[in-house]
Symmetry: C2
Subunit: 224 residues, 2 copies
DNA sequence: AGGATGCTTCGATGAGGAACGAACCATGCG
DNA sequence: CGCATGGTTCGTTCCTCATCGAAGCATCCT
């Protein structure tokens, strides 16, 4: 009967199937409207609205009103990290699929995590950036190296747009068990990848599929 | 309505207050009996037994029968990591205490995480071990360095007892946001600290309090 | 203005599940 | 062998909370 942060409150929010589906959908990174989330969760609009209210009150979601639309999104990287942690346990504990399907393979290679790239490809990218000293890593902390500004400017990414979020952040990859790059820089890189059409998002999934020339371009820019 | 690992199932297990209290208690690292957990959760024995059954079925707990006692413990480091992640969000989102209490301070400095030491002290310890090249760090992966065996043997810790769990593992510290040492080595070090009576466990808390001479001894052995 | 769309609030219904007492196994002790 | 102690199972009660239809706001379009 001890006190402490109300973990049960948070967990029970995620514990409802409808809400879990919504959060899962929002792990794609793009903010979604209430009706989209209702569809995603398989419930009626009033029900979804009620759930969204609870998630808001619990601090897991943020909302941005644009006209008559209300765009809901995850409250931050920490929430996204928690979801990935729970997903990891569910993966490990759940019915072991003997043979991972093709989509699982794609997810393992490259997927969207909240607003940045995750998967093997993202992990090797971070490795290279650190090896090239573009980024400097100290445990979980990642900072910009001396050549970072010019390096990213050449690609068309401005690392100096000052947000409230950290520019760099390490995010643990549940499939590879190593870190990839999160933060605004991670988000900007994902934007770049999609804007240049090097890769496309798999519909209704967090998987990211690179086209052959897109992959080459990506490797040339980030892995050399 | 998409498929995937059943995150709602896992989260709802943690989402019940009674079960959350039990899991929290087990974060102390020591396995507890059903009646102890019932007391901890503030429910009757039958209720506790039912909850424990569900947690077992969910794969979050393991049990060891010893005589007429049944000792329940967390299923593994991954589960412990998930709980810490949820705790972190609950911390961040919950009612911001304007002034952190004294116990919070102690928790920030040194606490037990499942079966190893966490907090500022644990983080600096890992830093030093890596700096001295006793441990070699590559992202989330931590391996033994060349001098590890002799170094730990001198302290009375055998790093070669081969378990099913990894010897070294990085575990993210929610208070400091950097990694500390988990795995069997992390557990062995915590054992050492308590066996040497350098520190004692705060009753009914995960806080670890070092005595002044104990702290000196700890620093001499691990931080020099 | 009038109508259409997106979303929230209200109220009623229903099901899942948390709780406990009582009875039932298992182990240890004298 | 009885008796106590630690745990689980069973059955019942009760309450929370998810769900949806209908009605109510708000915003945009023409």
């Amino acid at each position: 009967m001890r006190e402490g942060p109300d973990i049960a409150r948070i967990a029970s929010l995620v514990g409802d199937p409808a809400r879990a589906n919504m959060l899962n959908a929002l792990m794609g990174g793009t903010a979604l409207t209430a009706s989209e989330l209702a569809l995603e969760a398989g419930v009626s609009l009033p029900t979804a609205s009620s759930h969204l209210g609870k998630l808001m009150e619990g601090g897991l979601l943020t909302v941005a009103s644009q006209g008559r639309h209300r765009y809901y999104g995850l409250a931050g990287p920490q929430v996204a990290g928690m979801i990935e942690a729970i997903t990891g346990v569910a993966e490990a504990v759940g019915p072991k699929r003997v043979r991972p399907g093709p989509r699982d393979g794609a997810m393992r290679v490259a997927r969207v995590c909240y607003d940045h790239l995750a998967g093997e490809q993202a992990v090797t990218m971070l490795d290279r950036l650190v090896a090239k000293n573009v980024l400097v890593r100290d445990e979980q902390e990642i900072r910009l190296g001396p050549s970072a500004a010019s390096h990213f400017a050449a690609i068309g990414i401005d690392v100096y747009t000052k947000p409230r979020r950290p520019v760099c952040r390490a995010c643990l990859d549940w499939s590879v068990r190593r870190s990839h790059l999160a933060g605004t820089l991670g988000a900007a890189i994902l934007d770049k990848i999609l804007a240049e059409k090097w890769a496309r998002r798999e519909k209704d999934s967090r998987a990211v599929i690179f086209s052959p020339p897109g992959r080459q371009a990506f490797e040339r820019v980030f892995l050399t």
